[in-house]
Symmetry: D2
């Protein structure tokens, strides 16, 4: 009954190639670090894809064989082709899980699925972040304990212009005085979506074991169920 | 403290001009019937707008002076200009209420705010509809009683591909065997959105006093609060 | 990683002993039928408990070794000792899953966890029920298709006085003209709760393969995650 | 159409009589301060009630003439008679609004309506609190701006063992490192419930104009709609 979950980790992969500061932390790219962590998990199969590949690495074939897509993007949201965004949206509505990380809040696919601006406050300073678990029985925070502590992170502050999450799992405290809804669950169509805040490119956040734990948990949570084809359109009355 | 709510009733206004069957029920258009009912309400001010007016009657000026927009569209969703949809979305996120009626589920503005296909099953047959109140304390169903009974209506059936409503207020029973989430509340940005199912153009649904009651209640519910300008972007740390 | 889920199926077990009509359908009791179906599932371990056992079969030891409790009760809710209800509530808040079936809506444990009256309309007549899936990606309706059809069932009708479900999964259509929120998910404390409507004692509902499928799916959904002990009370400031 | 909202402000009223520190801040009692602020509002009528009055000041007659009940209790939750709690619960389910303040999270009426322990972390230290608005279009935070700043308050920290709010309106940041869901909306039966965190008796919190603004807004939000008597129990089939 338990089957393998096929994950595609997508990364813009620009900062790592152009900024030494980032390359030092993620020499193979953020996607490679996330993928390596997931490969240690049982029954998860991982591939990666990046912006500058043909079709951004997100061909029909890749997506048909992806159960959960992880998304990291920041400076080049506008370069993602609309036709690919259409394809992603169809796949999520059809059941593919989506985990949007950090600055992915402004990605075309996330804002399209949310219907809002997804705007927020931010500061690249010297903030300390503490992500508090507010839904302790939720599978995404299994084995996380009370909170995750990140010594240095970019601050994201409210108001975060998203629809109220179906389930709010984590809320961040920042030393500079702000709070943020940092772990947010949604269902859109048959697809499950998790937004997870941390992961600015100049900090080693994706090497943090608890951050990796949340991402792996989220992959299991977002994996599609067996999908019955849905029927829409003109229909005859039922008996009785 | 109580101020006037400025409503704009928007209608595609095509069926009424081209189909005798519809013109007989709504000689001045569906918008005129809805507007006339709202004009009987205290502290509601009503104007109308239709697809074939310049800018579909939805100029910046009209929208800046609209607190709640009511939307009926069906056969010409594709003719609504994207630039107007952008404008509508900005206004809803900024606080304008939106009431999407019946076939408005597939309008560009509604699907954009939902992020899903908003598809459903349908049948123009001889269905009897009963809209059951499932949230009896909600202001939208004030003075509605247990249910609304509509002798003849088009059937809309599940699965309805919408995000789970923030509040589900009404669920329809159809004699042909289906059910439907018929009264659905959302907040997007600072704007409140209500989807209300009934109102096929070939039935006199918008003349029904309880249907008019729900629409008037929804106008009051969706009216914006006093809006504080929101602040996004780069921000300095706060004291303490 | 996948471990066995330990289920206790609890039944009032009175109707089956006193009414031939019921005994003919469930000769060993409703609990035995539900347990037998669950025993066919991989990695689910099942025991049963009934009202007239000492401590209603729900000793501390049994509950400490129960991951998910299934509850069927009807005519003797008042005979369930409050001290056992306290124990059940503690266990649910601590992570034990609870599946309340049919007339269990008025059980002490369900109403206590809901905080409302959980009252509803009902009719033991000749109703036909069709449970429509409104959340097709949800694990509880995996492999269910569009709806479950039950030829004969007791009717339960709205208003059902429950808190709005965290996720609404199924809505029933009844031939007599009513609808009902039939599959309702909640989280209380660390515990997951599923209310599932069908199962009047005079109908063979728990022999129905799709009803059994929903219950088995719900068991998997409601199984606790690994539980971190929660910390409450007086606390020192954190560093930073 | 706009009618007067009848508010009863209930207070345990013990600290103010026994602790000079508290009496200095609230010489007439916390209830008197809250009541005085509400009396400045249009179309709100206020009375008060306290624990040591007969029936705690909450007779049938008082409650039948109360649209919204505000509750402050702390050290004597156990002294509130269960028969009065039953009465309160019936009234809330029947439509009376309830605003539970601060340590009221452990009051019998609030925990009964929630179904959970409502436990939390706390610290009476030297914390600075900032309550961030996360639902800026919500009527409860009308004219509040981005946040409320309280120089000195008791800390309440997560995990707060409540059902996930129907709408989360405010989240607190504390200088000691914690966050807290500080403004939480629920509906139970026909009644609206708002939990609002601030207000430790040793701080002048209820003199703060924005705290008063939130309470007044919450009164308007929680006021009952016109109530249709609900019908439960055995029912005949409907026509069609």
């Amino acid at each position: 009954m338990v089957t393998t979950i096929r994950v595609t980790v997508w990364n813009e992969f620009r900062h790592e190639r152009h900024m030494t500061e980032v390359a030092n932390i993620y020499p193979e790219g953020i996607h490679a670090t996330i993928a390596a962590a997931l490969r240690k998990e049982e029954q998860i199969e991982v591939r990666t894809a990046t912006l500058d590949e043909p079709e951004h690495g997100l061909t029909e074939d890749v997506l048909q064989n992806t159960d959960v897509l992880i998304w990291w993007g920041h400076s080049a949201h506008g370069e993602v082709a609309d036709v690919i965004v259409d394809r992603l949206q169809q796949r999520v509505l059809g059941g593919m899980g989506l985990i949007a990380l950090h600055s992915g809040h402004l990605s075309k696919i996330f804002t399209r699925l949310m219907g809002t601006s997804c705007d927020l406050k931010w500061r690249v300073g010297n903030d300390h972040e503490r992500l508090w678990v507010v839904a302790p029985g939720h599978p995404i925070v299994e084995r996380i304990g009370q909170y995750i502590e990140l010594e240095h992170e970019e601050m994201y502050g409210e108001h975060f212009d998203i629809p109220q999450p179906d389930t709010l799992v984590l809320v961040s405290w920042f030393s500079g005085g702000e709070i943020f809804r940092s772990g947010c669950c949604y269902t859109r169509g048959q697809g499950k979506i998790f937004y997870f805040r941390p992961g600015h490119e100049t900090f080693p956040t994706y090497h943090h074991p608890q951050v990796q734990r949340v991402i792996a948990n989220a992959v299991r949570w977002a994996a599609p169920t067996y999908r019955t084809p849905l029927i829409y359109g003109n229909t005859a009355p039922l008996e009785k």
